[in-house]
Amino acid sequence: MANAAPATGRRPLRRPPARRSSRALAGCLALVSLAALSGCSAVSETTGKPTVVIGAKEFTEQWIIGELYKQALTHAGYNVELKSNIGSTTVIDGALTSGQIDLYPEYTGVILQVLARSRTVPHSAAATFQQAKAYEETRGLTMLPPTPFQNRDAIAVKPAFAKKHGLRTISDLKKAGHVVFAEYPDNMEGALGYRDMVKAYGLHNTEVKTLNIGLQYSALDHGQVEAADVFTTDPQLARGGYTLLDDTKGYYGFQNVAPVVRKGVQEKQGPEFARTLNKVDALLTDQAVREMNRAVDTVRLAPSEVAAKFLKANDIS
C-alpha cells in the first residue's frame, strides 16, 4: 500500500517561533495521507475482509460498469475501491496481472483478439467466452459469467436506404451498388478491420471514408456516407433512426462483458461476492446499457449517478 507522505513532513522546524500554520499543515498532511491510505472510503468495516480494487477502462461504458460493480458490492457489505479510467486493454491487463487491481470488466472477443492474439474468431458467444476464460486461466486469472449484452462492431445504414435496396445482411450491400462506407481510422486493418470485412463479404464496390468515433452518425444523417461501422451499444442507436445489418458470417465476433478476476480474490471474499456481480451482469441487456450510455453521454449525468439509478430501479441498492 502506498503511504502518500514521507514521515519527515511531520516536523518541519522546531526552533523558529513555533508557528501554528506549519503544525496545521503537518496535521493536514497526516490526515490526507490517511485518507489516501484508506482509499477515501467511508465504508462501515463489518466483514474485515481486504479491500477489493476494481479497475475500469477509458470510456463511458466502462466507467458505468465499474460504478455498477462498486456500488453493488459496497451495498452488499464489501470494502471496495474503484480505479476508473485506467487506460486501454493492454494497460489495464498489466495492472491486473501485477496485482494493482483485483478485477475489471472486459469484452470476451477483445481478450482473444488483443491479449491472446488469436488469428481466428470463434463462432458463438459461448465459445468466445469459453476460449477467453481458458486463456485467462493460464495466467492466474479467472472470469465470471458474461453479460447478456454485447458491445460489438456492426454495420449501420439509414432505414430508408435499407428499404430501398432490400438490405438485411451485410452481404446484401452488394445489391446497393456503389456504397460509401465510414470507418474509424484505427480499424482499417486487423481482425475486425474494414479491409478484411469487404473481402470476407465480397463487397467490391465500396469506397471508404475514415471518420473519428462519434462522427459517423451525423455523416449517415447527412448522406455523406451510406453505411458505417458503429458500436452496438452506442446511445445514438437507442433512438431507432438506424438499421443494423446482420453479420451472417460472424466477422465481427462476439463481445459480451465479463469480470476478469485474479485467482484467490473470490476465496478471500466468499461466495456471495461472485453472486453479487453476477446479479448485476445478468441485468445488463443491450437496451439497458445503451440507455445508461445515453444517460452519461447525452443527458450528461455522472456515471455514478446513472449506476445508482439503475441499481435502485432493479432493487439492488
Binding site: 519527515t8 490526507v32 494493482q100 450528461r300 449517478e305 430501479a313 432493479n314
Partner: protein
Amino acid sequence: MSAAPVIPDYGSPSACVANNSTFCMDWFTAHWSNLFWPALVQHIELTVIAVVAGFVIAFLMAVLAHFQGWFAMPASALSSFLYTVPPLALFQLLVPVTGFSVLTVEIALIAYSLYLLFTTILTGLREVPEDAVRAARGMGLTRRQILFKVELPMSLPSLISGLRVTTVMTIGTVAIAAYVIDSGLGSLILKALQSPFNTQFIGAGALAVILALAADGLLVLAGRLLTPWARSRKAA
C-alpha cells in the same frame, strides 16, 4: 437468466447541454457538489502534499548546501535534472514500480518541486548581507542561532517567491496526474475530452486557474505577514 431489467428514466438534458454550448451554468451548478467540489478538494490535497513534502526536502537540502559548500553542486544538478523530465514520461516510468497510485503522482510532483524550492531557498540564504551575519556572530550567537534568527528571516522573500512559483506549477502538473489516478480536476478534463463536453472541461479548467491564482495570492499575503520589516522599510 433473470427477468428483463427495469430501465429507469434518466431524464433529458437542457437545451444548452444537448447543444454542447460553450458553458452551461445550470449543469455546472447542478453537478458542483458531486463532481466539481470533490475534484477541487482532491486537487488541493494532491498539491498540498507535494508542496509541503517538497519544501521539507528542499529546505533540508538547501541548509545542508549552505553549511557544506560541496553539497550545493550535486544537489543542484540532481534537482535540475529531475525538473527537466517531462511529467507524462515520469508518470509512465513510475507506474510499473509504484502503480496507479497517489504515491506515483506524489513522487513525480515532489521531484518537480525540488529544483525551484532548493534554488530559491539557497539563494536567499546566500544573499543575506555578510555584515548582518558578522554582527550576529559578534553578539555571540551560535551558528544555529544565526541560521534561525538572522539568515532564514532575511531569506524569507526569496523563499516565498519560490513557494509561489512551485505551488502554481504543481497545480498545473496535478491536472496531468489524471493519467495515473482518477482524481483531481484533471480527471474531469480528461473525461470531458473522451465524449466532448465543453461545460465539464471549461468548468474544471477554470477552477484549476482560479485555484492557482488563489494559492498565489495567499502566499503573497503570507509573505507580507511574515516579513513586517520589509513593509516598514518601504514606508520609511
